[in-house]
């Protein structure tokens, strides 16, 4: 069994949740998201983020607007839609359940 792969799978599962959570706190520019993930010690490739954001946007979870930038063309700033907020809540409760469950299981050992 490939341990690296397992933990990668685990991280993959929560990536969406993390990104939604960051965007939920504040309208965010992709590199902001990367930066915030980094400070939380979650390192991702930026190349991973863009497709994910586009997918979430196409699923109407996210919306974006163009914001003027000093250093060039405007940037996309993402925010949650109502649907996205609902989705986030579901994810959140799932996460909490899982978290508690896992903790319990670990404790019992």
């Amino acid at each position: 069994m490939n341990i690296e792969n397992t933990s990668s799978q685990m991280r993959k599962g929560i990536l969406e949740f993390c990104i939604l959570s960051i965007i939920k706190q504040e309208e965010a520019y992709p590199s902001d998201i990367i930066e915030k993930m980094k400070t939380a010690n979650l390192h991702i490739f930026e190349g991973t983020l863009y497709p994910l954001l586009t997918r979430l946007k196409n699923a109407e979870m996210l919306t974006y607007r163009w914001v003027e930038s000093n250093s060039g063309p405007p940037r996309k700033y993402f925010s949650l839609t109502e649907k996205g907020a609902g989705f986030y809540k579901e994810l959140e409760s799932t996460w909490n359940e899982l978290n508690n469950a896992v903790k319990m299981v670990i404790k019992q050992q």
């Binding site: 990536l15 590199s31 390192h43 991702i44 863009y50 497709p51 914001v67 003027e68 000093n70 063309p73």
Partner: protein, 611 residues
């Protein structure tokens, strides 16, 4: 030697080595391949390319002459290759090597102020990052240093000023510039502009300016704290800042001011405004051309008028600005003065308050007195302080409940004042029947009489600032009031005679008479000195009912009289004005130290040649 080409990559002109350009093309192709089946393929690739272009621009801005292979590889590394995308998170080992590589490429680790971890200026966060320790630890160290004689403050400020913000370093970070913030202003937007620049709450610079403009002087003696109005220095600096710092007007200026992004709406608005301006110009130009066609000669004239108009409007703008600055200054002075007087009034009220028993009878008056103190004086003070703090802190909207309760408390205060004045005036309604008694003089035949007060008055028991005018001194159960006026008359014979009439108010005539009879006022003659008591004694039983004394001194013709006292109030205070007729001399002049001689036609001042 490598060839460099300029490419227009998503709106940015990037000088790039040909080999690096080939790498970039290959990378883009690999992305195209990877996302072939993806629904929003074009958008994703567009976004990624956009970001790459931004990162490349950033590299150029940092001083690279052009994009080299290494530069591009670094960028691609942070974006990730398609084969990495499935891995989602870069593995830990990866990030560690990342760090190592960073260290190699950037061996000079630099100290930045942290934009992510900041409470005030991000200095602690920056230090923590630099030394790799916890921010909280650094903060605690600084706080301890700050409390030990402010040692920590100076290095903090120096670091704040000297170290660049991490916003400069971070990719896509925006350099800040100091602008006045017109949108978030109280006076000129200087403070909020400064706050924007340092990324702090606007009330910090505001408080600094306000505190700096009030210089409070404490005299060692606890009673005499004066607030020396305000020092114009801070205001002067503010006005200079106002004049010097430009206001952020365009969107990009606003961006620079905050180091942030302004949303699309404001850009739209901005553009709309500009378009409007263009429209107007076009219309104007149209009008002008028609005129040009019809009357060529007038166009020259018109230009001249336009030029003059421009000058005039410029001058008007300057005048308006100066007037505005002046008005704001005056308003600020008035406001500060009002607040200070309100505060001193409340201090005074608090200090006077223990003395109320000299004045009021029990029961309702006491209730009214408390009502005045709490609701008429303290409630507005607290309310105003709250208001100022909220204003300074930029709290918007108001708590209706709080506002309402302040106003209702204040109304209770006003009612207390009315009730107090009403009951008080009832207590002062009547006056006594005047009686005059003669003061026995041990030697009425002296040639000169010097009326004097004991000097102890201004030493002990002085409650300080405003009361000296009202009460000389007061102890636990006695207060002295300075309600004595003196008039001079011609004596029918050649000896001095002093008559004293005691007067008082009261609820009715009997009470007024009783209060007048209670007045004890000692007058002792020692040779040519006539020593008066230090005041009319008021006790807690014997309330203040405007007890007053009128002392008439009959001066024989040819003899001299003078009032000799360092205590200025004794001859010319507010209470003597009640008897304008009895004074032989005009009251404007201080009679202290002057020597008068009684002559047949009245009292004359003797001009003494100073030696």
């Amino acid at each position: 030697m490598k060839q460099v080409i300029n490419i227009n990559y998503h709106g940015r002109i990037i000088p790039i080595e040909v080999t690096a350009f080939e790498l970039l093309k290959r990378y883009t192709e690999s992305l195209q391949k990877h996302f072939t089946d993806e629904e929003g393929k074009d958008e994703i690739i567009n976004d990624i390319e956009n970001r790459i272009s931004e990162l490349l621009q950033e590299t150029i801005n940092k001083g690279a002459v052009c994009i080299t292979d290494d530069n591009l590889n670094t960028v691609i590394k942070s974006m990730g290759r398609p084969e990495d995308f499935d891995e989602v998170f870069t593995a830990k080992e990866n990030s560690q090597t990342d760090k190592k590589e960073n260290n190699i490429t950037a061996p000079n680790k630099r100290l930045f102020r942290s934009e992510n971890e900041k409470l005030i200026g991000g200095v602690c966060g920056g230090l923590a990052n630099y030394f790799g320790i916890d921010v909280v630890l650094v903060r605690i160290i600084f706080i301890i240093l700050a409390f030990s004689f402010g040692v920590g403050l100076i290095p903090y400020l120096i670091l704040w000023i000297a170290t660049p913000s991490s916003a400069v370093k971070e990719i896509g970070g925006v350099r800040k510039k100091l602008y006045r913030d017109g949108e978030n202003k109280i006076a000129g937007g200087v403070c909020s502009g400064i706050a924007n620049y340092f990324g702090i709450n606007p009330w910090i610079p505001r408080a600094v300016f306000i505190l700096a403009s009030l210089s409070i002087v404490f005299n060692g003696n606890g009673y005499h704290h004066q607030i020396e109005m305000f020092s114009p220095g801070a205001l002067f600096i503010y006005i200079i800042c106002w004049l010097v710092i430009p206001e952020a007007k365009t969107t990009s200026e606003k961006l620079q001011m905050k180091g942030e992004k302004v949303d699309m709406n404001s850009i739209k608005k901005n553009i709309a405004d500009e378009l409007k301006g263009v429209q107007e110009k076009v219309q104007q130009a149209g009008a002008e051309t028609t005129q040009l066609v019809t009357k060529k000669s007038t166009s020259f004239f018109r230009e001249g008028i336009d030029f003059v108009k421009k000058i005039i409007s410029g001058a008007v703008k300057i005048i308006v600005f100066v007037i505005k600055a002046f008005v704001y200054t005056v308003l600020a002075i008035i406001g500060i003065a009002l607040i200070i007087s309100l505060f001193s009034l409340s201090f005074a009220a608090l200090a006077v308050f223990p003395m109320r028993t000299f004045l009021i009878s029990d029961g309702w008056q006491n209730v009214f007195a408390w009502g005045i103190l709490l609701f008429f004086i303290l409630a507005p003070v607290i309310g105003i302080i709250t208001w100022i703090i909220r204003k300074i802190a930029g709290v918007k909207g108001s708590n209706k409940f709080v506002t309402l309760s302040f106003w209702s408390l204040f109304i209770i205060g006003i009612m207390s004042v009315i009730g107090f004045v009403f009951t008080m005036s009832a207590d002062f309604k009547s006056t006594n029947i005047k009686t005059e008694e003669q003061v026995l003089l041990t030697n009425p035949a002296v040639n000169k009489l010097i009326i004097t007060y004991p000097n102890e008055m201004d030493t002990k028991d002085d409650v300080g600032f405003i009361f000296s005018a009202f009460m000389n001194s007061y102890g636990d159960d006695t207060a002295y009031i300075d309600n004595v006026s003196i008039k001079f008359r011609k004596s029918p014979n050649d000896s001095f005679k002093v008559m004293l009439s005691k007067m008082s108010n009261g609820k009715n005539r009997q009470e007024a008479n009783a209060a007048a009879a209670q007045i004890q006022f000692n007058i002792i003659q020692k040779d040519s000195l006539l020593i008066l008591d230090k005041g009319i004694r008021i006790t807690r039983k014997n309330k203040f009912r405007n007890q007053r004394l009128l002392m008439t001194v009959y001066v024989p013709v040819g003899k001299e009289v003078s009032i000799n006292n360092t205590f200025e109030l004794s001859n010319d205070d507010i209470f003597t004005s009640q008897f304008p007729k009895v004074h032989e001399k005009s009251e404007d002049e201080s009679t202290s130290g002057k020597v008068y001689m009684m002559q047949q036609d009245g009292l004359h001042e003797l001009i003494i040649n100073k030696e």
